[in-house]
Symmetry: C2
């Protein structure tokens, strides 16, 4: 299909016509013919979510008001269990609330405090800024050293070997890494990396922000310890929607998170003298949960359940394959390098293109209605989010970039 000139728009249209998930696109609000390729940044709004939020303002907050708490109180863990099913977590281990950064802090601080004799915390190279800052902040306040886990080349994921190397002396309390790298879209191997950390006596905390809803994940199956992730990307829960935290049941007792809010108490309305931590994921909840955001997560999950993560992954791989083929055929001669790994098992759901003029190029693309984003210094990102992304969106964006670079 891919020649020196790359696939044609007709090829893209044919792929859209045979895409079993193509029908989901009409479930969303406000999409038009212009490419919106930021599923990895802010997923669009679904019609059902819009309706559920209107119902909250009409019948919930605007109607029964405070009596709504009888059903809202359990949303953080109820929606958490539903999200758990998407990431291979049995009930009682996932809670929603707070931002991803706060969730990261809670679990990182829990792990470091629980390993008083471990001298270090390790974080993946080129990890997303907030992960690095949170880890360094916790390490500093506990007087621990911060180590870096190398990636497999500048664009690849961390591996069992690089984790083994960083933790070889057995002095690492915790390894923090994204399953899918925010910059290049490279995906680590959940099982072997988790095992490598455990072998060296470290706990593993996965940031699933760029992975949840985009790739199949089996946390319990991997023997995972801790995970966090955001819901406003592939889960379409809206700007600033609450993040999630996962803590394996076996750690509920030994890794209590340190922010002792009333929602995490074993009996919230007892309001007794001492904080008694709840025995399951409820302890991960801190304060009054953001109801609108939780309802949006719930609806985002419903769409994912209906489509199925297996079908989503197949469509995503087909789309990112297509985008990479196209970019290699038509953009490589224009000094654009594909940073995303070619092997399917090493790839999340977005494609990263490197060009020295990335910042200005993205400005131009946005002005033309081609919505992609830029990460310093030289990366352009295009996401395949098959609930709404079309092959023609990817084709149009790549061609728009070719036109710009050919001027």
């Amino acid at each position: 299909m891919v020649g020196l000139t790359g696939p044609s728009r007709a090829d893209a249209e044919a792929l859209d016509a045979s895409n079993p998930l193509a029908g989901f696109r009409e479930r969303f609000v406000g999409l038009d013919d212009r490419p919106y390729l930021l599923g990895h940044s802010l997923g669009p709004l679904s019609r059902r979510t819009r309706d559920r939020l209107a119902q909250l303002t009409d019948d919930g907050w605007g109607g029964r008001r405070a009596q709504g708490w009888s059903e809202w109180l359990d949303l953080p863990t109820g929606v958490g269990d539903r999200l758990g099913a998407l990431i291979g977590a049995a009930p009682g281990q996932v809670a929603l609330g707070d931002s991803t950064s706060v969730q990261l802090y809670k679990l990182t601080a829990a792990a470091v405090a629980a390993r008083p004799h471990a001298e270090a915390v390790a974080v993946a190279a080129d990890e997303f800024a907030t992960d690095r800052y949170v880890v360094a902040g916790v390490a500093d306040s506990h007087r621990r050293e911060v180590r870096t886990v190398a990636t497999d080349g500048p664009d690849g994921p961390i591996t069992a070997d690089t984790v083994d190397e960083a933790c070889a002396d057995g002095a690492v309390a915790l390894v923090v890494a994204s399953l899918v790298r925010f910059r290049t879209g490279a995906m680590a191997d959940l099982n072997s990396v988790t095992e490598a950390a455990h072998r060296r006596g470290a706990l593993m905390l996965w940031d699933l922000s760029h992975a949840v809803g985009a790739v199949p994940i089996e946390l319990d199956g991997a023997g995972a310890d801790l995970a966090v992730g955001s819901t406003y990307k592939y889960l379409n829960a809206g700007p600033g929607a609450p993040a999630f935290a996962y803590r394996a049941s076996r750690h509920a007792g030994d890794l209590p998170q340190p922010i002792h809010g009333w929602f995490g108490h074993a009996d919230q309305f007892e309001m007794g003298d001492a904080y008694r931590p709840h025995g399951d994921a409820r302890q991960l909840v801190v304060g009054t949960p953001p109801v609108a955001g939780l309802i949006a997560v719930d609806e985002g999950l419903a769409l994912h359940e209906e489509a199925g993560i297996g079908a989503l992954r197949r469509a995503s791989l087909a789309q990112t394959d297509f985008a990479i083929d196209h970019a290699e055929a038509v953009l490589a001669p224009l000094r654009v390098a594909v940073a995303t790994p070619r092997a399917a098992v090493r790839r999340g759901s977005h494609v990263a293109l490197r060009h020295p003029g990335a910042a200005a190029l993205v400005e131009h693309l946005l002005a033309e209605g081609v919505v992609v984003d830029h990460r310093r210094p030289d990366v352009i990102r295009l996401a395949a989010a098959p609930l709404h992304t079309r092959f023609v969106d990817l084709w149009d964006a790549t061609e728009a970039l070719r036109t710009l670079l050919s001027r």
Copy 2:
């Protein structure tokens, strides 16, 4: 006006007719003739807020999507400055985001870490559960003792004297207390209590959850250090809306909050190696802010600005006076005690009634459409939130309680 039988419903109607704020009630959605007296728990939804949230789903998240971040990024501090004006805080000191519990944790941990030689943290007696739990959790992880600041009798506020007593040895890093007590509605004296803490070398953290939007507050004028508060009560920002944190400018350098998220960085999108704290309230922001909640806070503040906190306070005092008069006349003979202080300067904006059967009474009242709440063991709360509360609401609730108790 108040005889042995208390005020009449006609008295209440006359007071509503002459209430200069009465017109604000029609700005809200879903209020009917039944008393809704939970302004201290979950303020109702305003029409403007409903419209702004619909605009977010239609034009923002549902329209421009990720490009909306160009204006959303600054909401936590922009709306923070607007909220600051309501609590006497000059710009650059207030930020919104996270729950009240998380805000409390951030500022408590900051204060304790900054006073390594202080042995103790003090918290008000009968303080709200999450405040006590958060303080105890931080104290425990820093190996500090927790002390209690006594209240002026079982129902009154903490005072300069009781703070002085708790901090007499100069070993207290921080005093945490609500300005208005969640249970009895008793209000402390902001100025003298803050001064008393400072005189003994302690910092003062005020929880303004039951005060903001209900009583005039001048944080800068009082020389306050730190404050937090929720926005879903008198500010009508909806269930789980983001809380605020205030840190006086003089402490921006010496009290950095400990959760080092990318939003608190001096240059967020630099994503450089090290966390460089922002120089003002932006450092209090951690992760991606909840946009819908921030917009709702913004609209709640607009209503308060229009009414004016002076007029709100005058109406609130008139309403709580009326409710207390009524309760003392008709409920006292039925074994109901008014727990809220009688002196205006010692009173927030809700009235607490004590009765041994409070729990069952509230169940009955709710079943009759009289919306008040219960706090263990024996308190019934009725709020005056003059943007929407009517004198007849308070009269009807009190009479409903009298009827129940007279059976």
